[in-house]
């Protein structure tokens, strides 16, 4: 990891110095072992504090919206899933891609601090380093080593796009994924449940929601000036803690990212009460792939999104040839 960190600091210094960019968006290491927080730096000597480790999970592309409003040229470090989100933001005209310089970071997968805590390794833990498949935990008592990716986030385990799809500079060589991703196992598992069980499962999950809207705020696609749920005048939904309101919010949020969601899993990660929101988005992605062809909601900016277009001979589940019908 250090090789890339050094490479990252060099490129940041160089582009800031030669004025190619005015500001750099990256991560800095906090005092805790799991805390690599996003940071905006414009001072050359701050570039030395930039870091690339197994906890740079935050997607920096959404910060571009506010930063670009300051008419600056911005250099940003983007992982694979972050670059997908970047493309979506360009499609939505939320960012002006000319004024952005992208440093691509092929991502080996991020470590989930919860899993480290469950494994009881967090006592006295100072630093975690990962090189290739080897993970090294440096604690006060000593050093522990593990092989494999058992500590990775679930979303990283079946990651579809580890290598950035768009970048000016690539900071390390591409990462290859061997295990062919199974076809939405989590979604099919829920689909198999009987209807009432599904209803109870989701109502229980939704009832945990405290309407903090963290999922909306982190999502690169939910970038509306004023979200319809914040706009009281729209009269669409209220913050009351009633089942119907929770269901309303979650169904509509999932529907609003339909055909655009890049499956980066950030909504589930940041949800304080742990609602499996990505299962809603992935259900829609699975349906769209089956019905309207595999849309990789990322690569081709020119292609119009699935819900923004139609085909005359689309699958028509409502065309029962009832008596009196034309056909």
């Amino acid at each position: 990891m250090d090789k890339t960190t050094v490479r990252m600091q060099q490129i940041a210094l160089q582009t800031l110095a030669n004025g190619e960019v005015d500001v750099i968006l990256g991560w800095k290491k906090g005092d805790e072992w799991y805390d690599s927080y996003p940071v905006v730096i414009n001072d050359i000597n701050e570039t030395a504090e930039l870091i690339w480790d197994a906890f740079c999970v935050n997607n920096l592309s959404k910060y571009l919206i506010t930063e670009l409003k300051k008419n600056l040229r911005i250099g940003v470090f983007l992982k694979g899933c972050d670059s997908l989100a970047f493309n979506q933001l360009v499609i939505d005209n939320r960012i002006d891609s000319e004024r952005v310089v992208i440093f691509g970071l092929p991502c080996p997968g991020m470590i989930d601090p919860q899993k480290v805590k469950h494994a009881g390794l967090n006592k006295g833990l100072l630093k975690v380093e990962r090189t290739g498949d080897k993970i090294v935990f440096i604690t006060k008592e000593g050093v522990k080593e593990y092989i494999g990716r058992s500590f990775d986030y679930d979303k990283c385990l079946n990651c579809r796009c580890p290598n950035p799809v768009v970048s000016k500079y690539m900071l390390s060589d591409a990462v290859t994924r061997t295990d062919e991703e199974q076809y939405f196992p989590d979604v099919t598992e829920i689909e198999k449940m009987p209807l009432e069980a599904r209803y109870d499962y989701w109502t229980k999950q939704f009832s945990k929601c405290i309407k903090c809207y963290a999922c909306r705020n982190i999502c690169p696609l939910c970038s509306c000036e004023t979200c319809v749920f914040d706009n009281i005048a729209a009269g669409v939904s209220s913050k009351a803690d009633a089942d119907c309101e929770q269901q309303f919010f979650h169904i509509i949020r999932a529907y609003h990212v339909a055909g655009r969601c890049v499956d980066c899993g950030e909504c589930s990660r940041v949800c304080p009460v742990g609602i499996p929101l990505e299962k809603l988005n992935r259900k829609i992605i699975k349906d769209i792939n089956q019905l309207y062809g595999d849309y990789t909601a990322d690569t081709d900016i020119a292609k119009s999104p699935p819900l923004g277009t139609y085909k005359v001979d689309d699958f028509d589940p409502f065309d029962g040839s009832k008596q009196g019908g034309k056909k």
Binding site: K69, K70, N71, I91, D92, N93, R94, S223, C224, E225, T226, C227, V228, N231, A234, G235, V236, H256, S304, P305, L307, G308, T309, K326
Partner: protein, 661 residues
């Protein structure tokens, strides 16, 4: 809450029959915002409308609710009444308590409860209505007529006479349509070509009419007053201007295999051909499928012989896009194909003809130059049998359920013409019911029976057995009950009329609907027979349903009158229920722009300054002249920045709340 007046209509007993009006009036008077309630027997009448006008003035009403029949019937009537009383017409809301309530529910108590709910929804919506001012859009004063038969010709002539430009599009190489194929016309027996060709020449020579033959509609966009139509002029391979119509090429063309469509396949024609001698324009067309030059590259005789050098093998299809104010569809009809009617042996015996083939056989310009001979052995037949209702009035999957209206008359005409020229030929007509309702129609048919001795037999033909050179026709006379066996020499089938096979495709291009038989659907069968639900698109002739020439010409005149009425208005009142963008909410994602069917939405740049830094941002902007108010954009817009005037999100939500009250 605005001051709302409600008017509950009895509609005679249509509503009052199954809806308790007093209970409704009582319930409505308690609704919030209602300051005045009145019920009356006929709200749409003069007296009813005056009730509305006086109430608006006396009670300073700011909204008006009419609980009556469908808004599709009288919404305009009540909007005009409100306008006359000084109230903006778009503050009127109609609750449909007739078609959607009293007529479809038997139980009075249920129907009354539903009527109250529907009115509550209308009140909820009306209280959120805003004043809307209809804008004006300009009208392109040129009309388009699709189809060059008698319907298209007559419509074009009437519109051109009123001084407007008309384009006529005809799919086949010449105008004339089915009428050009007919020999004589009922009930006056004057020759079809004699009354048609002068009109065809008028069309060709009229300064206001522009003719596109051998052309098809590629695509239609836009809306009333501003249609943008792309026409595909198929390659004729002959230069229209140079060709003098001398006809040398059509005679000398060596490839004789293709069947002449105009003569219903009774004779063959060259690869380069004009459908019939009086064709307008009298310029041949090369049928590239059968032309040796195109298939083998050798021939080219027509090019060598053409004195005017008009042959151009290299011609390509040309796409022309023009703007029109109105469109008239006059695409006519076809005869059904008889492959499902095996019992008549139409497929495997040359002497069994359809009525259209009979017309060509007896026509002087036809394949036999008018000599009445049997196609099998060229001898004059002694016994001819006509069979009515072949495929008509047939609810099984083989035929059409409707009566084709014109067969009784043209069969009587055909039978009469045979007996007139050859009195010794025996003529039989098998029929179910003779339907001759027109002016002088029944007298005409009775002349065929009484003066010319045509034998009319009430009964259908069961089966036809070819025996030697005769056709044994098995039938039954239902009056006497005897089974009949007639050794006929020729059988003529009065086959049913059906819509053109591509009617549905054209309907889809024009966004007009076709009924289950693929005839175009008129706006209202009794009151608006030549209009469609799409403003600016009219119908004329058999494309709307089987009809004879007198009716077709009448409809053509009616459609022309509608078009002239539309084009005479320099400006058209546009639909004010269009979308509007709230620029504060809009974040410029333009997903609305991507789905707008009329490209009515465009990106607009706004300069914004947050904390002193001015930067640009994009928002959507609606072109109110193009927007047709479908509302598709409002659902694509996630923050709800774009809304549809007249059907805003809040209004529809209020209606839902009111209905679930």
């Amino acid at each position: 809450m605005p001051r709302i007046g409600a008017f509950v209509c009895w509609c005679g007993t249509n509503i009052a029959g199954t809806v308790d009006i007093e209970q409704v009036v009582q319930a409505v008077s308690e609704m919030s915002g209602i300051v005045y309630v009145k019920d009356y027997q006929y709200m749409c009448s003069e007296v009813g409308q005056n009730l509305v006008k006086t109430a608006i003035k006396e009670w300073q009403l700011e909204r008006v609710i009419i609980a009556s029949c469908s808004p599709r019937m009288h919404e305009n009537t009540f909007r005009k009444a409100a306008k006359a009383a000084g109230l903006n017409p778009y503050l009127v809301e109609v609750a449909n308590i007739r078609e959607h309530c009293s007529w479809v529910h038997k139980n009075k108590e249920e129907a009354t409860k539903k009527a109250i709910a529907l009115i509550r929804a209308a009140v909820a919506k009306a209280s959120l209505n805003t004043e809307l001012i209809a804008k004006e859009i300009d009208v392109e004063n040129r009309a388009l007529v699709i189809g060059g038969g008698i319907a298209g010709i007559q419509t074009a002539l009437d519109i051109a006479e009123a001084g407007y430009q008309v384009d006529v599009i005809e799919k086949s190489p010449s105008i004339g349509g089915k009428m050009a194929q007919i020999d004589k016309t009922f009930p006056t027996l004057d020759c079809s070509a004699c009354i048609l060709t002068p009109k065809m020449v008028d069309v060709a020579s009229h300064p206001n009419i522009n003719l596109y033959t051998y052309s098809e509609i590629e695509s239609v966009n836009g809306f009333v007053g501003n249609f943008e139509v792309t026409i595909k002029q198929k390659a004729r391979s002959v230069n229209l201007e140079k060709c003098t119509g001398c006809g040398i090429c059509t005679e000398k063309c060596p490839s004789r295999k293709s069947k002449s469509e105009f003569d219903e396949g009774l004779r063959t024609r060259g690869a380069i051909y004009t459908p019939f001698p009086q064709a307008v324009p009298n310029v041949p067309v090369i049928d590239r499928e059968h032309c040796l030059k195109f298939n083998t590259g050798k021939c080219g005789i027509c090019e060598k012989l053409c004195p005017a050098g008009a042959i151009e093998f290299g011609q390509e299809d040309v796409l022309v896009t023009k703007k029109y104010g109105a469109v008239v569809v006059a695409t006519g009809f076809d005869i059904i194909d008889l492959d499902k009617f095996g019992e008549y042996q139409y497929q495997n015996h040359p002497d069994v003809l359809t009525s259209l083939e009979f017309e060509r056989l007896t026509n002087a310009a036809g394949p036999t130059a008018g000599k009445f001979i049997r196609p099998s052995n060229n001898k004059r037949p002694e016994k001819v049998v006509f069979i009515q209702c072949v495929g008509s009035r047939d609810v099984s999957s083989r035929g059409k359920s409707y009566c084709s209206k014109i067969c009784c008359m043209y069969t009587a005409k055909q039978a009469m013409l045979i007996k007139d020229k050859y009195p010794d030929i025996e003529v039989y007509v098998f029929y179910i019911d003779v339907r001759t309702p027109g002016k002088n129609f029944d007298e005409f048919q009775r002349r065929a029976v009484e003066e010319y001795g045509v034998n009319y037999i009430k009964g259908m033909v069961g089966k036809i057995f070819p025996a030697g050179d005769k056709l044994i026709v098995h039938g039954v006379d239902s009056f006497t009950g005897d089974t009949l066996k007639i050794e006929a020499d020729m059988v003529v089938l009065a086959a049913a009329a059906q819509a053109k096979p591509d009617a549905e495709v054209l309907g889809r291009k024009l966004a007009i609907s076709t009924d289950t038989n693929n005839f175009f659907t008129e706006a209202h069968p009794k009151l608006r027979p030549v209009e469609t639900h799409s403003a600016g698109i009219y119908l004329a002739g058999a494309c709307q349903g089987p009809k004879d020439i007198p009716e077709t010409v009448a409809q053509a005149g009616a459609a022309a009158a509608k078009v002239i009425g539309l084009l005479s208005k320099r400006k058209l009142v546009s639909n004010p229920c269009v979308s509007v963008v709230n620029e504060d909410l809009c974040n410029g994602c333009l997903s609305c722009l991507k789905i707008c069917p009329y490209d009515a939405i465009a990106a607009k740049e706004l300069a914004t300054n947050n904390h002193g830094i001015t930067s640009k941002r994009i928002v959507a902007k609606v072109n109110e002249a193009l927007c047709q108010g479908c509302g598709g954009c409002t659902v694509a817009c996630r923050p709800g920045a774009i809304d549809l005037k007249g059907f805003t999100n809040k209004q529809i939500t209020a209606e839902v709340d009111a209905l679930c009250h």
